[in-house]
Symmetry: C2
Subunit: 445 residues, 2 copies
């Protein structure tokens, strides 16, 4: 009877946990400085919250369960439905705009593979109550602010931006029926993920010869605003509806320019996103080398809150998972090396002095200093090595001089310098250098 | 179609989330300064991990599910089995002692009531690989260090301490068969939670007249080491096995004395804990007024790792949930009032200046300053009020003087003082007071 972690999940031993905390701290820092407030919801929701509007792909990946009362529940596979539910519940009283972020743990019952696990963490930011394109632009700014924060420059990563209104206009021009748009989006989202001939076969199965794949395929290659203009001109009026969407796209890129982030951004008609609820601007962040799946993505969802039973309220937001970004940063050599840290390691020179050493440990910890000690009585030499192995800044020895004069012997483990100080003075400022006074700002952990 | 949160779960709107973060940050700070490293595992595990050793009560409260491969899983109802599994998987390579902490989200399908929800957060600390009573004492020190950290003094909270070895000895002396000990612990754990006559009836049902409840009941009233000595003397040799456990209890209290925390600690024979895997010292933390359920509890589990398929390895640890401690702190008026914070609110004096204002927003955020702005063009007066409502330290106006001289107008929203500064100088140190230079340590968020 030996137990293992469930398939597609991860154990976070301290080394891995330090990296996860480094990443989630970066997400929180960036969110807060961009004016977002943190929220969270439960790990599971009523099943229907997801089967209603997220689309078939998500619905097929749910971990569902029942509570004792027979209610059908599911572990959250994404955060936006919870956000919608929470905003709807207080739609009358929440001050607008609502700028919220979250770092939920999510689960999807899909086949574990590179960049995809059954359990992962996802940074979400959302702006609700604003239909101005400025909110779309700001959400992209936040994504770019994060890329910069973790050291990814415009040569490393790109935000590929499109608009579902534009895609819908082109598809309408190409005679895709309005009630088949969701299907078309779901298929177009697979471009770049599956071979082109497989996509062609799926398209044919869904749309027959009424909308030939050959008419659709060129869309996927339109990159950059210049190319888009060219494509519209080339269609000679055939893309009339699409042309009417151009000013909105151009306005978005103007805002991105004001924010100083156009070097990270590119128009790209191949981006449509898999989730069903997007209605406007959509985007995905990729490594420039395109060696990985999308680092993150998002867009505008102006009908979701109404569809979940609330008032009509526009929204825009994105998510960035922890798996792909970690792969990208690892490959780019940009993950930090993080070690355990300790301020003080306390050593009793002999077993009789252990009670005094424990007293010192408790006093230092209470003062906010990270402090450790050995459970085993060992020689001072061995314990100094243990202190070093533990990454301690100072070792302090409680010895005969403590018994006689209430002094402690301090060894600075970076410089090797050894000094003696009064017990109380040491407790007040254990990291103070040598014998230079005892004043030192209390370090906040 | 209006969705609600699942029964027994909570939504964390920003106000509630700030409090949750305040509490979990305190847990992390206290853990780190006591020399513990953070770890985490998956939200669900193989079902058998819990049905094996946690005991019937936990097993009856599992949220179980199946993955696509038909594997039986359960959302974690407690953290210790995951800890055991993870330690076992690397038992040969992990440096000892293992001092780990975690702040998992846990779920139990029980009836929601005061102090109990179906989803909650629980601080866990564990020391694995040490059988010295010093580890038991240190785990209690960490609990007390937390109580102090959140402002609960020895007049507010108490750690009630017992030993299952002592209880087992007394029960053996009273002729409870060895294979019924778990049942006896589970029943004794209900004392204080259910009426005495209900407990008596359950005891009679389990043990008949072989072990009369009247012989057991006095145990539950033994409080304090003096009282324990008295009880042993009073039994006139009938508690011989119990007497042999006394030195271990006394050694524990000596260590607690060295740590300077005996004012928080009391021996209490009524504490046995509900979980099946405890083998030695057990303890629970309560508010002194006993108006609430236990704030937390823990103990020694020397067989758990072996029972989960690993090597024999002793362990000790505790858990503190977020629900009861929040109730206790609320009642004691010790929860902080936390508001959203913002460094700078950027205002465009007219619509034409919006691009410059957005440029300033992006530059400030990139510099690490929390910055916000309005999506709507409004009068400067209205926007200054919005800045104030948002809790901003500074409002900065991009106006004619920006166009003409690249200056910005800064309003200190605490003092009301208004100054003008050069754009670049302001971006470098937006919180610098008035016109006193621009040097200022970059604030870490």
């Amino acid at each position: 009877m030996k137990f293992r972690a469930a398939k597609g999940t991860r154990d976070f031993y301290p080394d891995a946990m330090r990296l996860r905390t480094w990443l989630t701290d970066a997400w929180r820092r960036v969110s807060l400085r961009n004016g977002f407030e943190e929220y969270d919801g439960p790990i599971f929701e009523h099943l229907e919250l997801y089967t209603t509007k997220s689309g078939d792909e998500i619905a097929s990946q749910l971990f569902d369960l029942e509570d004792r009362g027979g209610r059908r529940l599911a572990i959250r596979p994404e955060m936006t439905p919870t956000l919608g539910r929470m905003v709807n519940a207080r739609a009358q009283s929440l001050p607008r705009p609502i700028k919220w972020f979250s770092v939920p743990r999510l689960c999807r019952a899909e086949r574990p593979q590179k960049g995809r696990l059954r359990e992962f963490f996802q940074w979400n930011i959302d702006i609700v109550g604003v239909d101005d394109v400025l909110a779309d632009a700001e959400s992209i700014l936040v994504a770019v602010d994060f890329l910069r924060e973790v050291g990814l420059g415009p040569e490393d990563a790109v935000v590929r931006i499109n608009s579902r209104r534009l895609v819908a206009a082109v598809l309408a021009d190409l005679r895709v029926p309005p009630d088949r748009m969701d299907k078309a989006y779901a298929l177009l989202d697979k471009a770049g993920k599956i071979p082109r001939d497989a996509l062609q076969a799926m398209w044919k199965e869904a749309f027959g010869d009424a909308v030939p794949f050959d008419a659709i395929e060129p869309l996927l290659g339109v990159e950059g605003l210049d190319h888009l203009h060219e494509a519209i001109r080339g269609a000679k009026g055939g893309w009339a509806a699409a042309e009417r969407e151009l000013p909105a796209i151009e306005a978005l890129f103007e805002k991105l320019d004001s924010f100083g982030i156009t070097e990270y951004c590119n128009f790209d008609m191949a981006i449509v996103r898999g989730l069903a609820y997007y209605t406007g601007v959509v985007y995905e962040v990729f490594d420039r080398g395109q060696a990985h799946r999308a680092i993150g993505g998002g867009g505008r969802y102006d009908n979701l809150l109404r569809d979940l039973g609330g008032p009509a309220m526009p929204g825009v937001g994105f998510g960035v998972g922890d798996v792909v970004i970690t792969d990208v940063l690892t490959e780019a050599g940009k993950l930090p090396v993080l070690k355990g840290e300790l301020d003080v390691y306390v050593i009793a020179a002999d077993a009789e002095l252990q009670p005094r050493a424990l007293e010192l440990v408790a006093q230092l910890r209470r003062g906010g200093w990270s402090t450790d000690f050995s459970y085993r009585a060992q020689s001072v030499g061995k314990l100094l090595r243990a202190a070093s192995d533990r990454g301690a800044r100072r070792a302090v020895i409680v010895g005969q001089e403590t018994r006689d004069e209430n002094l402690v012997t301090i060894k600075d483990l970076t410089t090797g310098q050894q000094t003696r100080r009064d017990w109380a003075a040491f407790v007040a400022a254990p990291l103070a250098a040598g014998d230079e006074g005892d004043e030192q700002a209390r370090r906040s952990l």
